[in-house]
């Protein structure tokens, strides 16, 4: 189905990663745990924009479809997954930050490879959504995140730079998909096409 080929979902995911990266920068400047409230901010701002964009960009081009109970569950799973992933990352980051000021040994070991764990988590979540939604490119995003975080761990690249990179790449990919989608499904002028004859 071409319903998620419009790139809007990618842009939401990319924005999510990007805002976490920016959140960490803000944390460092303001010394306020902005990252912890990021999922709520993202859900309350980006979600309505996404729904509006679907109505204004996607539906007029490919029509309207209601997925019903199974589809709703899938969509709910996406939102829930994004929220849980965001909260998980927030908590991990919060604990990571507290840990720097005298953490237990087990946390020391856990967070020594924190970026690899987060990368693995992203790959698993990406694969889960890719399987649920039938969108193979989500595997790619997950694997990209894993590769970047593993590289970041060994090369000592700060976490926020990796998030900003991943977010930017996914947003760019979403924007490219959106352009392709708009070119592939131009708006029909004249008689509405959503009427049976």
């Amino acid at each position: 189905m071409s319903y998620h080929q419009d790139g809007l979902l990618d842009m939401v995911i990319g924005l999510y990663a990007l805002s976490f990266g920016l959140g960490i920068f803000v944390d460092k400047i303001l010394e306020f745990s902005f990252v912890a409230i990021m999922p709520a901010i993202m859900i309350s701002i980006v979600l309505p924009i996404w729904i509006h964009a679907k109505k204004k960009i996607t539906m007029p081009r490919i029509g309207f479809v209601k997925f019903g109970a199974r589809g709703s569950n899938k969509l709910f799973a996406i939102f829930l997954g994004l929220a849980v992933a965001g909260l998980g990352v927030s908590l991990a980051l919060s604990v990571f930050m507290i840990g720097q000021n005298g953490r237990p040994v087990w946390l020391e070991i856990l967070f020594q490879y924190g970026m690899i764990w987060i990368g693995l988590g992203a790959a698993v979540i990406g694969s889960l959504f890719a399987y649920t939604m039938g969108l193979k490119r989500l595997h790619g995003y997950g694997l990209l995140t894993l590769a970047l975080f593993v590289s970041g761990h060994f090369l000592g690249i700060p976490f926020e730079y990796l998030l900003l990179t991943i977010g930017s790449v996914i947003i760019a990919s979403g924007a490219a998909l959106l352009v392709q989608f708009i070119q592939r499904y131009p708006l029909q002028k004249g008689a509405p096409a959503n009427v049976a004859q």
């Binding site: 029509g63 479809v65 019903g68 589809g71 509405p192 096409a193 959503n194 009427v195 004859q197």
Partner: protein, 103 residues
């Protein structure tokens, strides 16, 4: 055991036609869709799609609702309970007689 002619003859021919099967398959996985969505997914011309939809509607498999959304005419299509059951039955039939074929 090979499939008998009766197995194949008993399959729902209204659904078995490729264009209508495509329509039924698309409507089966959603709650409802509009005409434009189905046209995009199936690649049929409006006339062809309308013609097949009419046959499915006449059989009571598809419910067509015409309404106005934001002052724009809109046709919502969904499988009726009868249509959903017929598709399930068709699917079972096809699986049964194809499953009987030797490797």
């Amino acid at each position: 055991m090979s499939p008998s002619d009766a197995d194949i003859q008993n399959v729902d021919r209204l659904i078995h036609e490729p264009s209508r099967l495509t329509i039924m398959m698309h409507l089966y996985v959603v709650e409802s869709a509009d005409f434009q969505f189905l046209q995009n997914q199936t690649g049929m011309t409006p006339g062809n799609l309308s013609s097949h939809l009419r046959k499915l509607e006449d059989a009571g498999y598809v419910e067509v609702t015409k309404e106005f959304v934001d002052r724009t005419p809109h046709t919502a299509l969904k499988l009726t309970r009868k249509g959903r059951e017929a598709f399930k039955e068709y699917r079972k039939d096809v699986k049964r007689f194809i499953g009987k074929l030797p490797e």
